[in-house]
């Protein structure tokens, strides 16, 4: 969807969070010198148009005990990746699932599924379930554990543009 300058002002004012105030949209409107009803209309429009995925709490998986996150990557036939990706994405422990390009010969994996667990064992049991689901369709797979968070700031849009 196309955002205008006013939408972008709202994005900039709220991308780090909404004010924890009984009337958060009114506080945003005041800060931007806008009408609260206009702010709410624009936020609803951005929700409908997909610029906002959702509004609510963004949990910190690490602090909540989900300290193991495994990026699991699979090599499946390109012709079947859509069908197989839909099955893997439907598993209740998969938080993200994408088809991405290979970079041969270094990188042969074209299906990515992110899993989270409280232990390495928990993650490996989940990977076993994906492996069973894919069976012979998976020619190879790997689990890439994150060993360190180097940066985590979320989306930041620039002042201009």
């Amino acid at each position: 969807m196309i955002l205008d300058d006013t939408d972008r002002q709202i994005v900039r004012a709220t991308q780090e969070g909404l004010p924890l105030d009984p009337q958060p949209y009114h506080r945003v409107a005041e800060a931007l010198n806008l009408d609260p009803a206009d702010v709410m209309t624009r936020v609803r429009r951005m929700l409908d148009g997909g610029a906002i995925r959702r509004i609510g709490v963004i949990p910190n998986h690490y602090a909540l005990g989900y300290t193991f996150n495994g990026m699991t990557v699979w090599d499946v036939d390109d012709a079947r990746v859509s069908e197989l990706g839909a099955k893997v994405g439907a598993l209740d422990f998969v938080s993200h699932c994408y088809h991405r390009p290979r970079h041969l010969p270094l990188w042969r994996y074209n299906l990515f599924a992110m899993v989270h667990g409280r232990s390495k064992d928990a993650v490996e049991r989940q990977v076993e379930r994906i492996a069973e689901l894919l069976g012979d369709e998976a020619h190879d797979h790997r689990i890439l554990y994150s060993t360190r968070i180097l940066k985590k700031t979320g989306l930041r849009i620039k002042e201009t543009g």
Binding site: M1, V11, T14, Q15, G17, L18, L20, P22, Y25, P36, M40, V43, M46, A51, I52, R53, R54, I55, G56, V57, I58, P59, N60, H61, A63, L64, G65, M71, A86, G89, F93, V94, S95, H96, C97, Y98, H99, R100, P101, H103, L106, W107, F112, H116, R118, L144, Y145, S146, T147, R148, L150, K151, K152, T153, G154, L155, R156, I157, K158, G161
Partner: protein, 157 residues
């Protein structure tokens, strides 16, 4: 320390926060809390680090911009230097060290269509390393399913 109401907030309020005159009051009704209590609990969950943030989750690709996942292989001895160089770009939203030859994986977001490629080119120039671009070709539906149970509360306490 989290209690049952805190877990309910985390499970139920990952989306659907109302866009209304008094959204905390409206959301509180659903959770069996009052407005002030809900606001204070979110404040505390955020201060204690259980929440990264409270508010809208924006999607760069649906804002006329673009986003990608990229990886590079940083020599162990230069890992810290490369980390600083990559993190210095505002367009780099997340960056993780991962156990693989491709040992640095980062998400690049831009509010312009060409911004991602420009950033990846600039990272290659700055670090002197090849950057592997892995944009999503297709996204499979996953819904919202990060749920806390009793055990999580113990682990997180």
């Amino acid at each position: 320390m989290m209690d049952a109401a805190d877990r309910r907030i985390i499970n139920a309020l990952q989306g659907g926060f109302p866009v209304s005159e008094r959204p905390f009051r409206d959301a509180a009704v659903e959770l069996g809390l009052d407005e002030g209590d809900l606001i204070r609990r979110i404040e505390r969950l955020q201060a204690d680090g259980y929440l990264s943030r409270f508010g809208p989750l924006y999607d760069a690709e649906n804002m006329g911009g673009a986003k990608t996942l990229a990886a590079l292989s940083a020599p162990e001895a230069e890992f810290e230097r490369v980390t600083e160089q990559v993190n210095a770009f505002d367009a780099v939203a997340h960056n993780y060290q991962r156990a693989h030859d491709l040992n640095m994986w980062f998400v690049v977001c831009s509010d312009t269509p060409g911004g991602v490629k420009e950033t990846l080119d600039a990272i290659e120039a700055e670090t002197g390393l090849k950057v592997y671009d892995m944009p999503k070709l297709e996204e499979f539906f996953i819904g919202l399913k990060f749920e806390l149970d009793e055990k999580d509360a113990e682990d997180a306490a």
